[in-house]
Amino acid sequence: MKKRFGKDFYYALRMTLPVMAGYVFLGMTFGLLAKSEGFAWWVPVLMSLVIYSGALEFAAVPLMGSFDPIGALLLGIMLSARHLFYGIPMLKKYEGTKMAKPFLIFGLTDETFSILSTAEPEDGVNPSKFYVLVTLLDYIYWVSGTLVGAILGTAINLNLEGLDFVLTALFVVLFIEQMKTKSGILSGIVGVAASAVSLIAFGKTYFIVISMAMIASVLFAGKKVIDRE
C-alpha cells in the first residue's frame, strides 16, 4: 500500500516538475512584489491560498490599494474567463472523483488543466488519485513560492530572470502532444490562429474573451472536418 502510494506520488511529481520550477519562481516574484508594495507578509500568501490564479494576483496588486469590490469582481471574472473552457473537457474525467471534486475544480489553473487534459495516468494508477496529486502538488508549489517571497523579500538576490519561460515551454510541449491526437491538429491550428489574429486586432486586454468566442464558433462551424473520431 505504501509502496503503491510512493509510485503514484513519484509519477505525479515527475509530471509536475516544470510547474514546480515555474510556480515556485513566479510565486516568489509575486510575494516579493506585494511586499515591496507595502503589504504585510500574510496578504500575498492569503491571496495565493484563496485566489490561486497567477495572472489575476499580479493584476490585483495595484487594485489592492483602494477598496473597490465591484472593480475586483469584474477584474476577477474578466481575467479568468478562459477557465470557462477548462471545465468542459474535464466534466467526464472528473465524473468519478467524489469528495475531491470541489478541490479539483478550485485548483484548475492553466497549468493543471494543461497537464490533466493531456496526460493519462500510468497503467494501474487510479485516475482520481492522479488528478488529486497533480492538483495538490501544483497548489503547494504556488503557495510555498509566495510564502518564501513574502517572508524573505529582497533578501533573495538570485538572478533567475527568464525562468518563467519554463511555463511557456510547458505549453509548447503540451500543445505538440495535443496536435498528435486525432482531432487535435485542426483544433490546435484554430486555437493558435484565432488567438494570434485577435491579439493583433484587439490588443492584450480583450483578446482572450474574443479568441474564446472565435475558437468556439470556428470549432462548431468546422465540426464535420475537425471531428475525426
Partner: protein, 112 residues
Amino acid sequence: MSELQILVMIAILGFGVALTRFLPFLVFKNTKKLPKAVEYLGKVLPAAMMGLLVVYCLKDCNFGEAGEVIPLVISVAAVAGVHLWKRKAVLSIAVGTVLYMVLIRVIPLIAV
C-alpha cells in the same frame, strides 16, 4: 485599506475566479448524458486552448526589440524541435528554458 477591507477584496477576487472554474460543472451538474455539442467541445477544446495559452505567453514580448524577440523565437523553436525529436517533456522544457535564460543575457549585448 483596513485589514477587514483587504480580506473582503481577497474573498471577492477568489469568488470571481472560482465562479469561472465552477460554472461549467454547475451547469451540467444533474445532466446524465452530456449534449453532443458539449461532448464534441470537450474533445477538441484542449488542443485549441493549448494554442491560446502559447499565444498568451508570447503576448508581453516587445516585437520591435531584437533583444527580446530573438531569444524567444529561438527558444520556442528549440523546445518544439527537441520535443518532436525525443518526445521527452522534461528534457524539451529544460533545454528550452536554459537556452532562453542564456540568450536573454547574451543577445542584447550583441544585437544592434
